[in-house]
Amino acid sequence: MTPDMIYGAAGIAVFGIGLVGALCAQDRLRRVLALKLCSVGAGFLLLVGAWREPPGTPDPVPHALVITGIVVMVSATAVALALIRRLHSLEAEDER
Amino acid sequence: MSFVALAAPIALPLLLALCLTAPQARALIWRMMPFAPLPALSLALLADPPTGAQADWLVLGLHLGLDEVSRLFVIFTALLWCAAGASARHWLRADARATSFGVMFLMAQAGNMGLLLAQDVAGFYACFALMSFASYGLVLHSRDNAAQGAARLYIGFVVVGELALFAGLVLAATQAGSLLLIDLRGAVLSDMAVGLLMLGFGVKLGIMPLHFWLPPAHGAAPVPASAVLSGAMIKAGLFGMMAILPLGAVAYSDHGTVLMAAGMVTLFAALLIGVQHTNPKAVLGFSSVSQMGIVALGLGAGLMVPAAWGAILPVLVYVAAHHALAKGALFLGTGAFAAQTGHAGRLGVTLALLLPALVLAGVPASSGGLGKEALKAALANASPIWLPWLVVALTLSGMATTLLMARYIALLWLCPPKAPAQIAPEALLLPFLAVAGGALALPLLWPVLAQELAAPIAQAAPGGIWPLAAGVGLAGAVALYAHARRIGPALFVAHLTAPFRAFGARADSLLAAKRRAARRLGHAVPKAVSQTATDWRLGQTAIAGLIAIIVLIEMAPTLPAQPLPTQTLPDPMPHSSIHLPQDQTLFPDF
């Protein structure tokens, strides 16, 4: 069991947990968080790909990918949260 | 011959029919109605057959023409249409549906003329259909229940006939490989084709069992229409068979047998059914059916033995002409009779009607008699098996027709046909008399008109009187029988025995009178004698006489004997005659 395997498996596991959460969760916020987990898992996996045997330097491309992914995910999360808030206030209005 | 001249007989009536729809022109068109067939007539009289013209661009290539046979057909058909047109003008003067009648009348006329002139399949069929369908309006004209029923029956048969004709023509044209009638006549057609054609034309001809439409239709149509229906249009069936079937070229013994058998049945069955009808025009219709039975006999013989056709053909044409004129006259006469208001007029018309009736029945040397004899002669060449029967049938048909005619005349008086209101009594006389005259004069005119085709007629025997006589006899018998049926057997017997009973009664009363007279005489004579004796002193004289006698006896051997004077009485019976029971009707009405 090499570290990259462990990391990889962990990445997949995290992604899987997130996926299950995203699909099964009822609460809107939970689903956003589950999706975040997914993205973390995916990032893990890519970072594993960047890992090289100690003498070598890690591959920079996956790092770039991961960073991009994080940025994208941050903005997506922001939009999702904004929408959730808006929905809350709309629903509150509708109930009144 | 120009196409226009040949097309004019068709075009003119159509044109008039078209104009008739315009209200402004109606009066004029009705006036022209009798002259609509004139182009046809003049064409037939002036043209030199065979002649023809064609218009390839019309329908499937229209050929019109005139040959010896069709010329004759055109002549008598046109004459009849003329007369019918003239009478229609008066008959429908006050009719609300006169326009409809006029249009149909003219269209039927165009069709009738056209089918006689057409020389190709499509043209023939077109005109045939035009005539048949237009006549529907004629039959239906009065719109009453009888007319509705008759028209329904008529149109049903017409449709069936047309369809059979269509199929027959298609088959025939295909088998002959041509659309010209003259080619069809020479081609070997299949049995199916001939059968279908026979069916199609048989409907028009009214041969049993295809006759059902005919009597009701002729009965229901107005007089001018029935005249042409019966006189002219049913001849289209005959003409069609002559024009299309390969008569004289190919033998169709089965078809011929069927046709002859049908003709034979028709001849007599029509009589049997016809005498039961009470509408005089329907009776005339049945007479037409019966007459067409004769025609069917001729056609059948021709189909069976092609060799005989040459002889049969002219006779059939003649018979057709004869029947057309005689029957046309009878129908028109029916109208004329109906138009009469007075008893005298009716009687006069009845007498005039007797002439065509007798002609139709076949008085010797009349057109009817000649036709029948000529047909007998012509059929002599035909099938030897059938010949005796044919002769018998023809002879008997004279009797049958006489019977029908008698029935017709009687019905005229018993159930007088209705005439439209406001018709002048003399309105129909002229056309009627003209056609009747034509029928009478036919034997004289025919040689002029028909030339060589008239030969069999000219050579025909005048015919015997006895069928006619037998017919009259039978009519009388039938009248008696019918009378008996009407009033019941017992009464009839009473009627029958009445003269004898009357005779007996009279005789009895006479005898009684005689007895009384004798008794009186018995009383009176002795008295008178005694008186005389007293007066003449007979007592002394008697004694003296007695003495003288004794003396004489004593002296007798010496004296010659002297007879006694005898006294006779005058005949006491007066002159007597037999009085038959006087009946207002000769024929019973039941």
Partner: protein, 485 residues
């Protein structure tokens, strides 16, 4: 770094620039948006001319070549898709100008243009990308903009649908990202060319499958379509037109590209795709038959139509797969144009008569005739009746299936066509029925400016069918695998 003003660059960066400017100057947003679109369209036309004359154009971004750097490549298919987004976009924009005119639409007007231009950036980026990671970024851009457009109308239903869309979109993107990651782990490169050269190993196929699922989620392929009807039905008319006409096409385009470049997966996989497509056709149609509102019906029809496009992929063998893209491309173009027209027309109808309940369409005393006509024209293309582009696409699809002996896919296509006739004829009946209106019916006669854009789109959908041959010829320019395989 010299600024390279090639049309390829312009077609991506012009909209981006426009979006920023429009965001900063909300009052002039409309004008800026239109100007940007006009310029972008100009750039695309120039690019098309270039491609037509010189063949496919490759532009290495920032001077780095593949496999590391970002290459932009414009071939026939890309340019056609660019053309689609510009043409449809331009006309939808025109329509948006007139439909978002009222004072109550001020907020919408403010955000519509930046979002839409951002969306265009993303889409143009997708069409010009040559590597899958770039695609990932672009589809995320698209997703954010699209969600924004979805919720723009601000109603509860729209926001709810938008959130649902957001979840689906993020999840789809993440699945795609996972796929991308796997591919990188396998191959060490992310460009199409590398993908094309790869040996089809199990892991690679799994990675592709992951990507496919992500894309299926984004393009709403049955049974992952759950988010689409609500999102498309509840957005405002121009937004729906863009979402349905263009946005789903971006994901479809990626599928198409992958089909061109990826190693042949397996018959089973393709059959699965076909089955999912067939399911979409059937289910979408059934839902459309049941839909009570016009826009919902149209949205469900999108589901069905997308399914049909996936049916096009279900062919036998590598040759079949590489051939099937023609039908798919034609269908994508046809659907893009026609569905945009239809949504705009549906929006017009809703605007005019105040509701879009199908059953009561005929009760309205107002008949927006031209919009109805537009709707019908668009329906003709969507049903696939000649001579529309939809017909040609369907023809190509069925021809391919038939040539391969796949009669069942022919049957599915025919069933889909019949079903589409059935559900669209519900709408026609509403248009053409007159006996339930008591009031005198006021029919719009003559031309209305608001109807011009959808009508033009609908006519395009029909007329393009007559130009299918040159169009197909254009699509094949620079077709990478056309020569390779």
């Amino acid at each position: 770094m010299s600024v390279d003003l090639s049309p390829v660059m312009l077609s991506i960066f012009l909209p981006l620039f426009g979006a920023i400017v429009a965001f900063m100057l909300p009052r002039a947003a409309g004008a800026i948006g239109l100007a940007t679109l006009a310029l972008t369209t100009g750039a695309v036309i120039a690019l098309a001319r270039d491609v037509l004359i010189n063949g496919a154009a490759i532009l290495p971004l920032g001077g780095w070549g593949a496999p590391l750097g970002i290459d932009l490549r414009a071939d026939g298919l890309s340019v056609a898709m660019l053309g689609l987004s510009c043409a449809v976009g331009l006309l939808v924009s025109l329509s948006a100008l007139s439909s978002l005119r009222g004072p109550e639409d001020a907020r919408q007007r403010q955000y519509f243009w930046p979002l839409w231009l951002l969306l265009l950036t993303g889409m143009n980026g997708v069409y010009l990308s040559t590597d899958i990671f770039n695609l990932y970024v672009m589809i995320e851009v698209i997703a954010l903009a699209a969600v924004g457009l979805t919720v723009l109308s601000g109603t509860t239903a729209a926001v709810r649908a938008g959130l649902e869309y957001m979840y689906a979109s993020i999840l789809g993107a993440l699945l795609f990202l996972m796929g991308v990651g796997f591919i990188y782990l396998q191959l060490g490169r992310l460009d199409f060319a590398g993908l094309a050269e790869a040996e089809p190993t199990g892991a690679l196929i799994a990675a592709i499958a992951l990507m496919f699922v992500g894309l299926a989620l984004k393009t709403a392929l049955f049974p992952l379509h759950f988010w689409l009807p609500a999102a498309h039905a509840n957005a405002s008319a121009p937004a729906s037109a863009l979402l349905s006409g263009l946005v789903v096409k971006a994901a479809l385009y990626i599928v198409l590209r992958l089909a061109q470049h990826m190693p042949f997966p397996s018959e089973t996989f393709l059959t699965l795709v076909g089955v999912m497509g067939a399911g979409a056709v059937i289910w979408g149609s059934i839902q459309a038959l049941r839909a009570e509102r016009l826009k919902l019906l149209v949205a469900w029809s999108t589901v069905a139509q997308i399914g049909l496009i996936f049916v096009a992929f279900a062919r036998a063998g590598e040759q079949g797969l590489s051939e099937s893209w023609k039908a798919a491309a034609l269908l994508i173009l046809a659907h893009g144009v026609a569905k945009a027209a239809m949504f705009l027309a549906a929006g017009r109808i809703k605007d005019e008569i105040g509701h879009d309940v199908i059953r009561d369409l005929d009760r309205a005393p107002i008949r927006p005739t031209l919009a109805q006509f537009t709707f019908a024209l668009a329906a003709i293309s969507l049903i696939g009746l000649p001579p529309s582009l939809g017909f040609i696409g369907k023809w190509a699809l069925m021809e391919g299936a038939m040539a391969a002996g796949y009669w069942h896919w022919v049957g599915v296509t025919m069933a889909g066509t019949l079903l589409s006739v059935a559900y669209f004829s519900r709408v026609f009946a509403g248009f053409l029925r007159f006996d339930r209106v008591r009031a005198p019916v006021g029919e719009h006669q003559g031309w209305a400016l608001a109807d011009a854009a959808p009508l033009t789109l609908a006519m395009m959908a029909i007329a393009l069918g007559l130009m299918a041959a040159p169009l197909l010829g254009f699509l094949e320019i620079g077709y990478a695998l056309g020569e390779a395989k």
